[in-house]
Symmetry: none
């Protein structure tokens, strides 16, 4: 959720590798995985086509590594939320970041990427596992918050909020700038601050 990409990528050993991944991220999310040729990625990254195979064994493996990266980044975002004490602030921060973050380039990339796997043909079991694990992690984080808030059924509440936010994301993808950020934010928060 929290895009701290620059730092992330800079930690990578090779400059070229990070350039390739950055180019691929942008292209895959803008044009789709199957419809983006390697040659286009390498061109955008400013390296040769063959070089990709020094870092990734195949196009599929490149995607897998990107997914991994994206989920790691999102986990960091969750971890940040966890460190806050007040559960109301936590939830406020989480919802805020998620909804208003939807229009951020980086976030769009990430979430499209994640959507991508869900409709991907035969996603590798590892990827599905990664994704499930990430979701469960998110559920747990939210569950803990809702427990502190003493909501009746923290587990279900976690699933509900997750559903709402990913549903909103789909709406945003379809309606783009017609999506009513403020209203949606208020509507969601109402449930937790209502008294």
């Amino acid at each position: 959720m929290t895009p701290r990409t620059t730092e992330q990528f800079e930690q990578m050993r090779s400059e070229s590798k990070s350039k390739i991944m950055a180019a691929a991220l942008e292209l895959f999310t803008k044009q789709g995985f199957d419809t983006t040729p390697i040659s286009m990625i390498s061109k955008k990254a400013g390296v040769s086509t063959g070089l990709m195979y020094n870092y990734f064994s195949s196009k599929d493996q490149l995607l897998e590594e990107m997914i991994h990266e994206a989920l790691e980044m999102s986990k960091k975002g969750l971890a940040e939320i966890s460190e806050i004490d007040d559960p109301f602030v936590q939830i406020e921060r989480f919802v805020n970041k998620t909804i208003y973050g939807m229009r951020k380039r980086q976030t769009i990339f990430m979430s499209k990427l994640i959507l991508l796997i869900q409709v991907k043909p035969n996603p590798s079991p590892e990827m599905v596992l990664l994704l499930k694990e990430y979701n469960l992690n998110a559920y747990n984080t939210l569950e803990n918050i809702f427990e502190k808030m003493e909501l009746e059924n923290p587990e279900l509440e976690a699933r509900l909020l997750t559903a709402i936010l990913s549903g909103f994301r789909l709406q945003y993808f379809l309606f783009k700038n017609d999506f009513q950020f403020d209203e949606m934010y208020e509507l969601v928060m109402e449930r937790y601050t209502d008294i």
Copy 2:
């Protein structure tokens, strides 16, 4: 000697077309659009590869026609709901149908298909329009119901419910049978029956 009658030809055409569309539906949703070759569709449909082009001018156009059909079906479902008088029954029926219907083979196909376009690279403007139109139609239906229920902000409520349900669908795709249908149903309905 005598040529077939117009009716006979019509019959043949409609049968072949259906076979092709059914095969494509299953394959596209299982394996994705770009990763399903025409040859695989025709093989599954039990016809020759070239025949597809008697009915659809391209693979893209085949998809478009499938989306169209899927949305028509969904619209019918909405129309049925509209005819009910009691708004609580309406909403109950709608949520019930949507949540418990998620497991249905046909529904899975359709909704994956629709998800497909949202992630599709360069979806044709016609498809996007179709999809937007369908969504607005759904919003309106729900808005009317919420008005009758005298909720504070019917429009936003419509968007919220839509978001929740499509969010659940994503969860279902990921967690399959671990998805807790009954609990989710109760959780959603609570918002409307709560007194």
Copy 3:
């Protein structure tokens, strides 16, 4: 050279056959042989695709028959010229008909068709023979005329005039309406009336 098509075609046994040939003539000359599908011919002719194979064993054979037809027609034109007594009138009539006839739809068709074989891949030996025979026939007719006119070398004169006129046809194809009919006509005739 003389288009007496209508009569010609009406002599054919079957109405459908003539419709097919007429449609093919127009399409082949407008769009080329390889780039005109049978289906397009039959559509234009208003008959079914399969019907073509009642009359012609293949697409190639259809072309062959058309060439034959075209050459027959041209021969008739030559025969008409032969019947005239005065050689000056003969040549005048021949050149006039050829040059001013170039813009006639029917003639354009015919001559493009004939050009077509000369660039056609592996034209059947029969077609080449037909074409040679026709050319020799034309040479002979002109040769006879030039003999009567007491030109020095009637045979070569015949080849020269033929070359000029087919060269003009190429110019006409390229420059269309910018081709100067009157000037060209005068220029050619000068050679024979010059005294």
Copy 4:
């Protein structure tokens, strides 16, 4: 280990491109454009099928580039003629080159190629323009010569000579070795040396 230098790559590219164009020239002129598959070209050129698309964006574009090259060569021939002083020598050289050059393999290819476009269905506007431009260029060159020779109507004379020569080419294509080169040469030159 060290990548090839730019020059090495340039060398490789230019060699491959030449091989492809040479093979295409021979095949297109022998068998026609539509009836020569890419696979046949690449086989003859001794390269893989896909390689063609590294150098030409399509089969049509390959043809276009070949036409361009052919016309450039012809233009060079015209330029050489232009540099001669004596108009009688100029015309002698031009006619000689054209008539006796007709037998040359290379020339046959080129002129069939050019004929090809004139009969080609929907030739690209660029190609037609190229061809027109080339013809006008040839007309001008001849016109200048005829002016120096003080012929009555230099422009028409240019068109006439062009027509004769292209007409002869057609005759040569049909009659091959039966074409009477010497006689035709004399016959044409008579017009200009005739005192």
